[in-house]
Amino acid sequence: MSGPVQEQGEIFDVTKVGDYLQFTVVAPGVAQSYRPGQFVAVAVGGPDSSMLLRRSFALYGVKPGGEYAGTIQFVVAAKGRGSQWLLAQRAGARLDLVGPLGVPFPLPRESVPAVLVGGGYGTAPLLPLAEHLIAAGSEIELIVGASTASRLFGELAAKRLIGSVTVTTDDGSAGQRGWVTDPLPSAIERLGAEIVYACGPMGMLRAVGEVAAAHAIPAQVAVEESMACGIGVCMTCVLPVRGEDGLTRFLRSCVDGPIFDASRIRWADVGTLPADVLGADGM
């Protein structure tokens, strides 16, 4: 596996999907070594911008070859200044990209039944994962949720791919009212799932991890921590993660993640300095 590259990608297409814009960008270098779960870091604001830091986006589609060869896709939600700038870019403009970054979702050696759970635009990276799993012969189910219908992503693509998809919304404006964790237990049981994959807000990931743990199966989750560099050099993006040796370390979510085993993340301690984290006594 070759590493990340930096390249100037030309925007090929921008499509509105619910509240989001889906970007298709010609970026053969990023596309080449991509695996599901990885992300791309995009410079925002142009050369004279007051915004120094890149914004990260989970990679959705990637076409290393064939039609649209060398393109990548990602989905952008409106938040602060950086995303607003990106949302104003149009086809033909160039984006300064670094990627693919982060570790991919771990794939089972053999086919295993799996439930995939996406929150909001978090569904995006799950769809290429679903493709891989299906190609490997795994049986899968997908649950997608959001606060409201317009914040759902990937429902149609998922239906095309998997045949069916379970939808939840907080306000009941689409699918069943409630959270993704409501239909999750029965999906795990129905499928006899041996693994759960999830991407979405931190609260959701934690809850998904708890459901998986209750079923004694692992959950691999993609976290979204604030990142200054995205490439592992700055140490801003750390999470308290319990290692195989039982020791908790602050791990960088950009290079040691963004995919973590949910049971290893000390969710309750995120944003604190647990006394038993490695090196806390050195502070």
């Binding site: 120094l52 560099c229 050099v233 700055c234 750390v238 944003g271 090196g279 050195g282």
Partner: protein, 337 residues
């Protein structure tokens, strides 16, 4: 030492000799990374050959493993960022075994930054590094001194001098030591003179400025550490002012300048103000190729102004106008570089 970075000729440009020195440390070119912005070089090695740089300055290392501060650890600010990493690191033993070893096999020049809670820790770090092949020791005294109720060493001329003279005695005499200063002081010239008297072979500056951002969602400080260090282009005018003042205060000491360097033109400002070499920090987060890009840009900027070497440009902005003009007049008469 790569010939390509040492001196090369662009179209219509004179060759510029990019070699420089930081006390006894000879560098093929004047662009290094800044401590804490390049880890120990390995991750940047994915983007370019770190041996092409003047050197890699590693993240400040302490004696023991250190967790660093709770998250959030950063906030973006206008043309800058605030960080409160809190010197997360593996401790000196792991650093020597892994990071330093990697840098050596990569053929990179290593500037090791050390940090301690008290003078003794600094001394022990210098001793641990005594027999290891390092090119320069950067002493990060911009950290809290537990012996002085947490006041930052670099804010007190006496505490700064005590650390520097102790480290100078403990460290391998063949390795130059640079004191890294904080801009958050009333008189940076005073601190510079005191570390110079204490035996520093040179000075690195500047470290970050103390800042604070309020998160308007939580209505509390945005960073887990409450205050943080401000870096990036926003602070560049302060950094250049500090280089200027310290060059005047201790004209005989070489300076490693940094603070908001994003382009070769920015780097040139530091050199003209008195820096013999520069470190690139926050700009790396924006552009992982920043150090090598800046090196190429700097060379072009020097060539465009008729300099035959980097060293000619060091401190050039301090010279009288007449002296500057005379320099270029003689340059035109000469045979070029």
């Amino acid at each position: 030492m790569t010939a390509a970075t040492e001196s090369s000729t662009g179209p219509g440009e004179q060759a510029v000799d990019m070699r420089t020195s930081l006390a006894s440390f000879q560098l093929p070119n004047p662009v290094l990374t800044a401590s804490g912005c390049a880890a120990a070089g390995r991750e940047l090695g994915q983007f370019f050959d770190v041996a092409e740089l003047g050197g890699v300055v590693t993240k400040s290392i302490m004696l023991k493993p250190r967790s660093g501060r709770p998250t959030p650890r950063m906030a973006e600010t206008p043309s800058g960022m605030l960080n409160s990493i809190g010197l997360q690191g593996p401790g000196i033993d792991s650093f020597i075994a892994n990071d330093l070893a990697w840098l050596k096999q990569a053929g990179a020049r290593s500037v090791v930054s050390i940090a301690g809670h008290n003078t003794e820790e600094f001394v022990n770090l210098a001793k641990r590094l005594y027999n290891h092949p390092i090119d320069l020791l950067e002493v990060n005294i911009s950290c809290p001194n537990v012996e002085s109720r947490g006041q930052v060493f670099a804010c007190d001329p006496t505490a700064s001098a005590r650390v520097i003279s102790a480290v100078r005695r403990a460290a391998n005499p063949n390795v130059p030591i640079f004191a890294k200063l904080s801009p958050d002081v009333t008189d940076i010239g005073l601190i510079a003179r005191s570390v110079a008297d204490a035996g520093a072979d040179g000075i690195s500056l500047i470290n970050t400025l103390l800042g604070l951002v309020i998160d308007l969602d939580t209505m509390r400080p945005a960073l887990g550490g409450v205050t943080g260090g401000l870096s990036g282009p926003a602070i560049r005018p302060v950094a250049i002012r500090c280089v200027w003042q310290v060059h005047q205060a201790v004209p005989h000491l070489p300076l490693l300048g940094m603070g908001g360097i994003k382009t070769g033109a920015d780097a040139l400002q530091f050199i003209l103000a008195g820096a013999s070499a520069v470190s690139v920090g926050t700009a790396i987060f924006n552009d992982p190729h920043a150090p090598v890009r800046i090196l190429a840009e700097l060379q072009a900027e020097l060539a465009a102004r008729g300099f035959a070497s980097v060293t000619e440009a060091v401190g050039f902005a301090h010279r009288a106008v007449a002296e500057q003009e005379e320099f270029f007049a003689s340059r035109k008469l000469g045979v070029g570089a």
